[in-house]
Symmetry: C2
Subunit: 220 residues, 2 copies
Amino acid sequence: MLNYTTSEENYIKAIYHLQKVDGMVTTNELAAELESKPASITDMMKKLKAKKLLNYQPYQGFRLTADGTKVALGIIRRHRLWEFFLAEKLKFTWDEVHEVAEDLEHVSNKKLIDKLDEYLGFPRVDPHGDPIPDANGKIEISKKICITELAVNTVSTVASVSDHSSEILELLEHKKIAIGTKVEVKKKFEFDNSLEIKINRQPVITISEQLAKNIFVYTS
Amino acid sequence: MLNYTTSEENYIKAIYHLQKVDGMVTTNELAAELESKPASITDMMKKLKAKKLLNYQPYQGFRLTADGTKVALGIIRRHRLWEFFLAEKLKFTWDEVHEVAEDLEHVSNKKLIDKLDEYLGFPRVDPHGDPIPDANGKIEISKKICITELAVNTVSTVASVSDHSSEILELLEHKKIAIGTKVEVKKKFEFDNSLEIKINRQPVITISEQLAKNIFVYTS
DNA sequence: AAATAAATTTAGACAAATCTAAATTTATTT
DNA sequence: AAATAAATTTAGATTTGTCTAAATTTATTT
Ligand SMILES: [Mn+2]
Ligand SMILES: [Mn+2]
Ligand SMILES: [Mn+2]
Ligand SMILES: [Mn+2]
């Protein structure tokens, strides 16, 4: 496996995340994501195409090749393993890990990452509940739905939270909701789309639509 | 504290290590150390001087300012903490840690490093026995002498080993010599400068001049 | 189907870090 | 004190990654 610059890696990772949603990624989309300019995107797309990491025809958008996807999964593996390390071992809070992992992910020594993985006990998800690809780039995609879609009176487990800010973390901690928490929706209100939910055997609590939209649970 | 590029950091660190020996560092010396060309050194020296990290007059050599030294100690702190982490937690061998730490040292998040330090139990020396600067950049300089200088029949402790290769590690492991091992020189041979030494209460063993020159012990 | 708007690419510029080759300064020898 | 050698700097080029502004292509309206 060749090595890529930090800049190349940031483009590859961003494309990977955008194409999960879109399929095909556009120049302006990627420029917005990376907070850079469309002209810079075009330049890098030519380079990644030359390296066979990208399918790209001028004006037609782009997507990663199989090789490009492998590279992306390697970066995401490093990112999420470091996030896990920071949270689990160094006791960083949930909202702090991402920024530091953004730098650590670019240290791409294979042995370092595989030994780190082993040291951490081969964690399957990062502190936000996102899956960690294994050493072969295999990623476990669990079926998840937003808690707003969960049927009433069905117990499920919180799988991930899509917003990673300190503000949502504060609220979730206050309400004692974390990754892995067992939850059950008791009532849905049409007026404001708020939910009443139960956590284990505690009294029902209310969560707003804004909060609910960010909480995903396993469909089991 | 400002941030510096990986390239700037590598220059600063190399100057720090060279001036320990020399006092003043020269262009050619630094070019050799960094495996680059004199012209590149001059370019970077101008930049570091402009940033007030370096005292430099054309043709007169250079040395770090107080600010430059602080920056250097920060880099060395990160490098050695990561080396300790790799050896202690990830079970890397002694000769493998340096290369990986060369990359990790450039991730300069203050909180990351201070939390890592705490997690590791505030280690005072890295796996090679070199001192780790604390969060304030204070470095504990222990008085050391080469084992070749140690008086006969005086027990001392192995403080550090200057060669970091896998070859010397293999030999040291075979002879059961490590950082912290108590040693006593029993006899010195003038013919080949080999030494007979005792480790704890075990039978004497012989070490060659080449090996002895790389072993340093605390003077106490 | 033009005309207009939006998206994208191209052209040309710039900063960082590096190099080679030439010029300059300092050190060493005769 | 010249002459020569060694060390260092300068000049000019190259690569990577970025940008602005202009040109081009594609999409959307009239
Ligand atoms: Mn993240
Ligand atoms: Mn994450
Ligand atoms: Mn080292
Ligand atoms: Mn070391």
